[in-house]
Assembly symmetry: C2
Homo-oligomer: 384 residues x 2
């Protein structure tokens, strides 16, 4: 297997964007290619991740992006795994470079959805659940994660204030991220007083609906060495699945796909959770970050809240989570999110993260899932 | 690289189906797994191809399918490349088995769209064009292919009756396919008298909108040998792209992505077009089959019509095209189409094609593209 590297990264701001889905995808792609210090023609293929192209009247995004980059002859495809699309697309590109099918691949995630309005966005997103059992019964994602949150509060010694602490931390991180959607300092009180969305989750426990595009260039080590010093290694990659509907799960306070994907990624990398210096994890709701932190092996089951209380997951803590601001503050343009996590790790490990730099970090992890974790991908990166 | 095999194949009838998108995908998947003579738990991953899950309120199809097969822990993803989704999904699965990441992969293509009605289906499909330049200007696919047809008629010595001949041939083949959508014998006169859709293309020059699901099991040769005698080898795989909008093409009578993908596939297989015994090609409109037959190297440019007139592309001709009935008669459930082509090749090369068997066939080719050929994949298969 070829050693795989991330050579460049770029992206738009996350938030409510005016440009079309194609335009923001092209902007992100061009930025990643420029960051990689290469010409578009050196790219062999485009792996696009997107869920609701229909909402902006453009599916089959790959050829539009490749054509606008001046490389229409290069193959492309779009990959969808709900909110985990970005990392799954990254995984496929990784597999193709590792296998030697391609030397350099553009991975671009994009979503343009906010113009449809909150009701339509919620409706579209519900199509990512097991719609027969969940979406059509009115169980959209805030409700589903509220069920998990309630189970967590019941099963472990946790409080709603613990959840709020995650939001406060991620907003603090997002303040330092110029591309974050919600750049606003908040307090525990702000979270506790925000409107209830689905009890026990309140508005500030939820990530926003965002537009945005993120992009990275993935390549073989040989290609990387020929083009730049600013690259990082992909040392682990894992995927897993969970029962599509929550009703099929044995437990509500763990996500099986995270454990399966993480185990595979740690095994490939030959490391343990203790070796991870920081992680970008899927905090679509505050409770999710706590569950993730346990399923990824950073804390024992039920002890994730302890880590939050003690500040261990802050940027200067023992295991910083979401230094980018996470989905909660940086935003969640669903097709882009998993790619955006890789952008953050690239910037952290190549000294480009500015004020939000995690000190002395050498190994970073990304964790991104679809729906309530029905699909998941975990990747591990190491600085050169 | 591991040698890759197709071990089993199955699928629903193509047409107007009543069951949900999930249900037809599960039916096809279960049939392919049974055909492979394996248990679902022996599958390592699910590669789903689908374009408009939104239309039936279910995207993130993978986990729903895997959960219903009793293997929720296995990873899955959905791949979209417009009407070429099925073959692109197959290509990704091929790459993963060839690279040794997985031993056995389920590839299932599905579309459920006819319930939205002709106007909405046409609108949805137009999102697969370069919408900024084409779809929003009213150039939906019949219009775009009519432009190509007009260019072909102008540039070469061809007539509308030549196009009609393709429809007649494919309907003759579809009559022998119990799963085909349009099982109806037609004559040249029927085609010529059918209503004009976009001049010079008439209704019977166009494939139908279809629902349907097709599925195959892809695996390593070692896995295949342990499980069955009825498998075939994948000996070539190629992908390519073209400018997304027709206006970006140098010529209107050739599809660059087909040539690029075919060249790569022939090279991998170490063969030439002369070695192909039959092919399933992308005949979304009659003119497309003629253009495909030239771009794939079966005929010189402009000579494809000659082949049609002489009956060379009939089931008993020198290079039979679309023995299944093709998109024209078998139907075109867009996410399923490319996988359905592989199902046909599997059945032809393992003696399961019944009355529509191509005599003495050992090597078959599939050719499937998205939109007006902005993306394309070609695969070549050989009997054991």
């Amino acid at each position: 297997m070829e050693k795989v590297c991330v050579l460049g990264a770029g992206g738009t701001k996350y938030g409510k964007l005016e440009d079309s889905i194609s335009d923001i995808a092209i902007q992100a792609s061009a930025e990643a290619i420029e960051s990689a210090g290469i010409q578009p023609k050196e790219i062999n293929a485009g792996y696009i991740s997107n869920v609701f192209g229909v909402a902006d009247k453009q599916v089959h995004l790959g050829p539009v992006i490749m054509s606008n980059l001046g490389i229409p002859e290069k193959p492309s495809l779009t990959i969808e795994s709900a909110c985990g699309s970005g990392s799954v697309s990254f995984r496929e590109a990784f597999a193709n470079v590792a296998a030697g099918f391609y030397d350099a691949i553009l991975v671009t995630g994009v979503e343009k959805i906010t113009h449809t309005g909150t009701e339509w966005t919620t409706t579209y997103f519900s199509y990512c659940s097991d719609f027969f059992y969940e979406g059509q019964a009115g169980a959209s994602f805030p409700g589903l994660f509220a069920s998990m949150a309630l189970a967590y509060l019941t099963e472990f010694k946790a409080t709603e204030e613990d959840f709020a602490e995650v939001a406060v931390k991620n907003h603090d991180n997002g303040l330092l991220n110029p591309k974050a959607h919600l750049r606003k300092k908040i307090t525990i009180e702000d979270v506790m007083k925000s409107p209830v969305v689905a009890s026990p989750l309140k508005l500030y426990d939820c990530c926003p609906f965002s537009d945005g595009a993120s992009s990275v260039v993935l390549c073989s080590e040989k290609f990387a060495k020929e083009h730049s010093k600013d690259y990082i290694h992909v040392i682990g990659s894992g995927r897993g699945g969970s029962p599509a509907a929550l009703q099929g799960r044995e437990h509500m306070t763990t996500i099986p796909s995270t454990k399966i994907a993480a185990e595979a990624a740690y095994k490939m990398a030959g490391i343990t959770p203790k070796d991870i210096d920081f992680a970008e994890v899927h905090d679509c709701f505050t409770v999710a970050e706590i569950i993730d932190s346990e399923d990824l092996g950073f804390f024992e089951k039920g002890k994730g809240v302890q880590g939050v209380r003690e500040g261990q997951t802050k940027r200067n803590g023992e295991i910083p989570l979401n230094p980018s601001g996470g989905l909660k503050s940086k935003g969640h343009p669903i097709g882009a999110t998993g790619v955006g996590q890789v952008v953050e790790v690239f910037e952290q490990l190549t000294g480009k993260a500015g004020e939000r730099t995690v000190k002395d970090a050498r190994i970073g992890l990304t964790h991104n899932f679809g729906a309530t974790g029905a699909s998941c991908a975990v990747h591990i990166f190491q600085s050169v």
